[in-house]
Symmetry: D2
Subunit: 408 residues, 4 copies
């Protein structure tokens, strides 16, 4: 018998984690605590409770939490302050949710006195790394049970057979071959991977996309939207103050309506392979564009460039699962420090897949000074003759080198 008496399982209520639940009970002979989170994935959570009860989980061992506000406020928004994009394209919708789940799992471990956590991520993906690095960082002695790396149910057929044998309800779609994609959703995005997408030369089927209409089906009339920023975060839309989760919900709605935020790419996983993924990030796509625009008038050039130089590294930290690492926290301190002056508003135009910045201003923090930039007479604000010396000294090292070359 195992020394694990109690394990907390990240439980969605779906087939896979239901099989895991049963398998944990059988294999580890342990009490299972289920944790189901509302991160804005758009699914009912109560059925998960009912299912857990059917597996004999004690009511006090069923945790169902609405984490939407915490998710956007403490994870999504901080990440967007850095204009974070992985490999030039991916907005890290899955990556950013994992550390919050890891944190809650450990909270519940501490609360229930469990010895282990368990999750349904496979041994080939990034999510196992994100869950487990987070868990280890927060509770170094935690035991982790990753069934996909342990059991022998590695094919769909074996999984279904196991479910059948143990009376785990199987929905029709599973019997018919299962979803053509592996999906993950939260308030920031929905992702699709695997199966029908495994050939990166083939276009994804239109029927796959769930959150956005196609640009072709989007309204023929553009829509303007004003976003107000405070300390680098959006705090109001069209003049209405909202909470972080409300803002992202609303932006998803608007972006989805206008066909914004679809992405089809091949990315490099931390575990060493390339993988094709499709993503819908309607609200995030708008946020990124708008955040860059507000920074463009409020951030000092060198600070902005420093952030740009560090961004890919910060993105990799999040992608690879190092949210709870000291290096991510150190970068966050720098990033957050730079955002104190990122205040003002941005106007974007949404139209058939496009997010077009059409205006930006900051009453308090604009560094844009038209009296200097003007091509017209600036009344002495800038002495053009200064540029001569500026260029001469910047050229000096290259002139010395060219002189040497000429002498040779």
């Amino acid at each position: 018998m195992s020394d694990i008496k109690k394990a907390v399982l990240a439980y969605s209520g779906g087939l896979d984690t239901s099989v895991i639940l049963k398998w944990l009970q059988d294999t580890y002979q342990c009490e299972v605590v289920t944790f189901t989170a509302d991160l804005g994935q758009g699914e009912e959570l109560e059925p998960a409770r009912q299912k857990a009860l059917k597996f004999g989980i004690k009511p006090e061992n069923i945790f169902i939490d609405d984490l939407r506000e915490e998710f956007v406020r403490d994870f999504v928004f901080p990440m967007f302050r850095a204009n974070t994009v992985y490999e030039g394209e991916y907005l890290l919708g899955t990556s950013i949710a994992r550390p919050l789940i890891a944190k809650r799992l450990i909270d519940i471990v501490n609360q229930t006195g469990a010895q282990a956590i368990s999750h349904g991520a496979t041994g080939k993906g990034n999510d196992q790394v994100r869950f487990e690095l987070g868990a280890y960082a927060l509770k170094p002695g935690i035991r982790i049970i990753a069934p996909w790396r342990e059991w022998d149910l590695l094919s769909r057929e074996k999984l279904l057979a196991y479910a059948e044998k143990h009376g785990i309800p199987i929905e029709m779609k599973h019997r018919q071959g299962g979803s053509p994609y592996s999906m993950d959703a939260n308030l920031l995005h929905i992702s699709y991977e695997g199966r029908h997408l495994e050939d990166p030369s083939a276009e994804a089927e239109e029927s796959m996309w769930r959150w956005t209409v196609s640009p072709e089906k989007a309204p023929d009339a553009a829509e303007y939207l004003d976003l107000e920023f405070r300390n680098g975060d959006i705090v109001a839309l069209n003049g209405t103050a909202m909470s972080p989760a409300q803002i992202l919900t609303k932006l998803n709605e608007l972006g989805g309506k206008h066909g914004i935020g679809r992405l089809d790419l091949v990315e490099n996983r931390y575990v060493g392979m390339k993988s094709r993924g499709c993503y819908e990030t309607p609200g995030g796509t708008i946020m990124l564009k708008a955040h860059r625009a507000i920074e463009s008038i409020t951030l000092d050039r060198e600070v902005a460039h420093l952030k740009d130089d560090l961004m890919p590294r910060y993105a990799s930290m999040i992608y690879n699962g190092y949210w709870w690492s000291p290096e991510r926290k150190a970068l966050q301190v720098l990033i957050d420090h730079t955002q104190t002056c990122v205040n003002g508003w941005v106007r974007v135009k949404l139209y058939k897949g496009n997010v077009i910045v059409v205006g930006r201003d900051s009453k308090t923090d604009s560094l844009f000074d038209p009296t200097i930039a003007t091509f017209e007479d600036d009344k002495g604000a800038y002495d053009q003759k200064d540029a001569g010396g500026f260029i001469k000294l910047n050229a000096l090292r290259m002139r010395i080198a060219a002189n040497l070359k000429n002498r040779k």
Copy 2:
């Protein structure tokens, strides 16, 4: 009298450089050599020759060159190999043309025995820096005459008065207040700055845009396009091999038709001020997206990340005028080295402002291995158990730190 006997002027044939031509003759009492380049800006060059002749320029001192192929092959393409973007948005259309003009100016200096070059860039902008850093790097003893930093014709009125007085033809548009924007065009883009754009909170007028239709006016039917890459450069469109300039010309046509590549932003100039610019880069926008896509399946992860980390620095070098510097050349050597495996094709869908990657493949260099990435049974290509050790060791330092914290 000046020790400058002969000066080579970057001459567009327009009002400003015509005034400069005359002013050079009068002020420096020197022979003027005019240089007019076809970089794909879409203007007739012969009128420039006629105007130069009228100013008494000797025919052998009039240089008119078609530089389009050299421009795309040796400047635009190398830059795109790095996925170069300045400040997250700007595709560097103006910046990348300046070093070629600097090079040709110095070539003509060497050919004609001139002592100086001159140009029409103002003392507030980046272009003076790009011209002059290039010229100094290529010919360290060159004299540079930058009239806008020297003369007193700093208002439009004074300039017109000078033109009038000296019989320089003034087109009607100049009498009527001049263009509402300062524009610059070449095969990569057309830019708009100044005057009507000086308020960054106000949307640019639709009438400003010249190369692209608005997304609203673009065709209702999407168009698919296949791009073939060799060593990181596009070599064929829809199966037809073309020269670099032909490719960019065709991509501009397609992008322009589908409303692709408009940009409205505030950027940080090297001389220290923020400035608002609008750009149309239809072909470049398609190239960037497609280049990232072909790299996504052919480039090693760490090489791709190294390139991403260095890209903002490389972009700043080009933006700031350091094309001819040793540091840009050193980075280029690295970048070009990475592109030997960037071969294959990318399919994009063009639709109302969107460039959507829908497929990519490489017969020779794809690192995408579906037998490993698959969620299905991989027949042992990848041992999921390896992930446990991978995570454990990557977590080790964080666990040690957390243990320490717990002890405290």
Copy 3:
């Protein structure tokens, strides 16, 4: 007559700044305020007061400040937290003092209502940049008078003639050809540049060095020294708590005695030329070595590497005069954040030019865990089998690439 009524001069009391004082009075017809700082350069400051009075400076316009504690606490220590070295060698002794002088100059401007500041740095060096960037950042409208860029006293002879003519006392050494070096000193270092050092192939004369004995002349017996760190700063030597300036003074004494901290190098100035400099930084050399040692057991690996990656950039900011810039402040926030766990002690051995770390420990923050690192039986603290998976997944992308290559 100038619109400058009052100017604050960074006044050392030496010949050059005395000539400047007089020249300012004559040329600008302005009231001069003198500012003389004790930064630990080891010179009496009262003579500067007497000289100033002789030039008719009003007593209330003579500022003489002991800035030693502020210098070490707010400038030297923060810089050493980053292990800052410019171009692999230079400890930035001159660079780090300039921003403090700039700050005090502006403080005095604000206090006295002056319109301008003035300094004795030449137009070829870095110091003019450091003074002036600091001043502009702190008071953007400040007027700056840099006599070496304005006057015609560019040779030593002209300067002496001017002094003679205006009754400025000239010491014998100046009549005899002046110092063979240009020197600058403060609590962190003393520097030598120019004249006898202008040939970088020739060894510096032994007689030049002032703060340290040569390693050959240093004691034959080594000396051990314990340094205690708190939040990355040294707070005690051999168990005795001291103030920042006391610590650096003591370290200079010990280092100087043991021939530690001499440096002879060629560096790249911000204004574009290479220059040869010799430096003595006895205390700083000990501090750097010890700080790296305490970080080696208290800092997380990735945090340490992040700091190492950013250090050259941070060093350039300080070298180039950007102490008061927003980008330096942003980096400082990150650096300081990492130092909260840098607590403990380091033991070094000082011997004839060598600083040898022989021990380091931290009761509260050591991440060194002998139960894991041991080659002996670790009783399961580390499972060696984990390394297999770690290596396999880290190798995966290279194996896929090699497989592809083999197939080709």
Copy 4:
């Protein structure tokens, strides 16, 4: 029975790899091929042959190679072109030898038709990673046997018992408790780890050091040494041209004589733990200092800074075992490109642990221009007034920001 018929073992002839040899024969029932390399570790190799024969290894399966020239020319020198130092201190002496051993192991695999390689590195260290990443990169299908991760001989007692039982000769030192340190040597360095060094607060015993005298015991007279560089590599000492291995051998001799190159540090291993190591790198310490000196007069500032910024990343690649990775090769291309102008000579003074640069020059590539750097009259080579404009424009963004702040 295993599917491994033949395995190539990195065989030193010592106790540990002799036990491994026997264990491989017994456990895998396979033919063993031994590979012993002379990397300059200073040990006789013929005894290894005799021992191998005694284990029944066929003569044609015994490989003994002198790799010293290849090691220095293709591994050590390229690394020193980057001024490579890991974590501010460590010269990577062990790390840089591993990829060469990996390469030879795979060469021999290809030559003998073996299926596997084996080595004696433990599961806690970096060396297993370096061997195996190299092997996988060069031959993706290779099987790797790492006995320390597989067997149960994890304590010294068990190992000795196994040796005794199988008639493997045990030297007296092993019976007496074994070496107080784990050591590794090659032409670049000798390292000490483990056991007596496991307490980082305690000074290493003087008796440990083998290659260098202590500074105290070094000669009382300094010695001057001239080093000539071509393309960044040393090609002659005191005017005598030598091969790479000859140069490093001679530098080790000189450095060792003068007490140069001892290091005692705590480093961060790739597998996640901190570890204390002591190193002697006499020749390398001289090379690093001299290489920086020759670069100081021949390398452009921005190129030098680019190299400095990338160096820690390059060092980590080598430390972590990624020599054969595409990212290391890409950086190497950049580094090597920068070295074409690194020609000239450097004079150093060696004295009791100190390497003091006292002169450097390059007839062909010096960018040091005394006519510009001079404090004396430069006859117009540099216009000091240019500095005014240079500073003004560099200050502009900070002045605009300060103006904004004042208005607030």
